[in-house]
């Protein structure tokens, strides 16, 4: 479904992504793991168009999207939940969700999807009239994911959804990610919490210093000694 070929990204003189190639198949959960500064977030941002790649190609269903703006990529179904939640703090939960459907014009479908989001996250329904800034960290993360679902993603990019959350909430978020995936959304997940990510992922790529070191199925990598040592704590 999504194919990235030899993607190079520079920040000034720094070569941040050194020829990354990866693929995501329809219906999969694929995760990118790696240490701080390995290029996980940069990869996501480059694929969703928030930053520009110097060279390489990105194919969505066989069609090149490398020259598309971020907006057009959203229109084509690549939806990004940025790191650190980024909700519209002074707007209500409902307004946040409505903005998620910014590019859509089918009112009935939007109303339906809002209901669907409330089904995934009942707490958001309870808080629908509250300003998003007053939600807890976990609730904001749920809202950010819910908002992304409102743009009807074909492939959903999640950047560190577990960041700064209590362990119990991390569990909950991951099980919701799994549910969303089972409902038919392909997911590309970036995580610090490699253990959790590998458990729910079909496949994984390990990034190091801007290039891919290892790739394999989630289970394989969970068992691999080298990975255990480097990222899973022994």
């Amino acid at each position: 479904m999504l194919e990235v070929r030899d993607l190079n990204v520079y920040f000034g003189v720094i070569h941040a992504l050194k020829g990354i190639s990866l693929s995501v198949n329809e219906g999969e959960i694929v995760t990118l793991i790696g240490a701080n500064g390995a290029g996980k977030t940069t990869s996501l941002r480059a694929i969703s168009g928030l930053i520009k790649a110097r060279s390489g190609d990105i194919l969505l269903n066989g069609q090149s999207i490398i020259n598309m703006s971020a907006k057009d990529r959203v229109k084509n179904g690549i939806v990004h939940v940025p790191e650190g939640r980024h909700v519209f703090t002074e707007m209500t939960v409902l307004e946040n969700l409505e903005l998620g459907a910014y590019l859509r014009r089918d009112k009935a479908g939007i109303a339906q999807d809002i209901k669907q989001v409330y089904k995934h996250f009942p707490i958001l329904h309870e808080r629908r009239k509250q300003a998003a800034g007053t939600l807890s960290g976990g609730e904001q993360q749920m809202l950010a994911i819910g908002r992304a679902l409102m743009s009807k993603p074909k492939i959903l990019f999640l950047d560190e959804p577990s960041m700064g959350l209590a362990p119990l909430l991390v569990q909950e978020i991951f099980s919701i990610i799994k549910t969303i995936n089972e409902a038919g959304t392909t997911i590309l997940l970036v995580e610090q919490n490699a253990n959790m990510a590998l458990q729910i992922a079909n496949r994984a790529y390990v990034l190091e210093n801007g290039s891919i070191r290892v790739s394999g199925s989630g289970q394989e990598l969970l068992k691999s000694d080298a990975i255990k040592k480097a990222y899973l704590g022994g």
């Binding site: 907006k71 959203v74 519209f88 908002r147």
Partner: protein, 344 residues
């Protein structure tokens, strides 16, 4: 729903017409004399400037220090046109041209500078408005340089009233539209709005262009009422003054800008009597109010007829509570008088 909207619009229209009639009566009975009329006109111009800057700074979150620059473009454009066609039609043409030229300038300035954020954008816009001013000083042949242009008065306060109403109406409707929501979401979180598919650069430039458009109109009105324009009127201080009105009224509140433009104009015209310490008092007042109301007079809320209704209900309730307490007291007293034994 439509009916309610209609009713609301109708109420608003009535309020506007009433305001107009009241001011008109005051003007024609000379209670508002010529001097006060100048203040009135300043208020209207400041409302247009503040509301349009609020769109850029308060709602879209782009800190601009160059609003006076776009105002000056409007002023000069209009003055040059009315100098050649000195009729009311010439003035109308001048206002239109002023708005269009200013918005083109806003577009051209906004396109490169709006990629900057925060302080950098403020410095860039400040620089642009200074450049505009210096250009006007040096285009001797057309603008008469630092001495400025002298035209005629083409408008009375009614024109200003009409243009102010149009400006506020347009901008408040714009903010309620999809485009307006997109602008507000940029202020709230630029990354997130990009992630939901909003073309942030486009909307920032759009807000900036619309803001400049109305700044141009304000400039044109200024030139057509006060009939003397010099580059120095539109200096850095002017930009700051407009920003002060916006911040004082509340970033993100149109009615706040309107109220604050009125309040500040009244305050400064009242302070004219103490000319020695005028600026000191004015600044002190600003500091004091910003200490006690850091979000501005209205914060990011809007004043509305519904809100007035709420207040009325609130006051009514208080009043009722007060009365019932009084009644209780009196009845208790009566009870006491009538039947002291039972009360014990």
């Amino acid at each position: 729903m439509k009916k309610i909207l209609k009713a609301k619009g109708f109420k608003m229209l009535t309020a506007l017409v009433l305001t107009y009639i009241i001011i008109q009566v005051l003007v024609s009975t000379n209670i508002i004399n010529d001097y006060m009329q100048a203040t009135l006109v300043t208020i209207f111009i400041n409302i247009i400037l503040a509301v349009s800057l609020n769109l850029i700074t308060g709602f879209t979150g782009q800190f601009s220090l160059g609003h006076a620059g776009f105002m000056s473009i409007g002023a000069y454009t209009c003055a040059l046109i009315t100098a050649r066609i000195p009729t009311t039609w010439g003035f109308i043409l001048g206002v239109l041209a002023a708005a269009i030229v200013a918005s083109i300038a806003g577009y051209l300035v906004g396109l490169p500078t709006l990629r900057l954020r925060g302080d950098y954008l403020a410095i860039a816009t400040l620089g642009m408005s200074e450049i505009i001013r210096i250009i006007f000083i040096n285009m001797d042949d057309i603008t008469n340089g630092a001495a400025g242009l002298l035209t005629k008065r083409f408008v009375n306060w009614t024109w200003l009233f009409i243009f102010t109403v149009i400006t506020v109406y347009f901008i408040s409707n714009f903010l309620k539209s999809t485009h307006g929501r997109a602008c507000i979401s940029i202020r709230e979180d630029e990354t997130a709005s990009e992630a939901v598919g909003i073309n942030t650069t486009k909307y920032k430039v759009m807000a900036f262009t619309i803001g400049s458009f109305f700044a141009g109109i304000a400039g044109a009105l200024y030139a057509s009422y006060f009939y003397v324009i010099k580059p120095d009127i539109f200096n850095f201080n002017k930009s700051v003054n407009i920003l002060v009105i916006v911040v004082f009224g509340g970033l993100g509140s149109l009615s706040g800008s309107v109220v604050s433009a009125i309040v500040l104009a009244l305050v400064s015209s009242f302070l004219q009597a103490f000319s020695d310490v005028q600026m000191i008092l004015y600044s002190l007042l600003l500091i004091i109010i910003m200490i006690f109301k850091p979000g501005g007079l209205l914060g990011s809320r809007e004043l509305s007829i519904a809100m007035l209704g709420d207040w009325r209900a609130f006051i009514g309730e208080k009043f009722k509570a007060l009365r019932s307490r009084k009644e209780k007291k009196t009845t208790a007293k009566e009870d006491l008088d009538n039947d002291p034994v039972e009360n014990k």
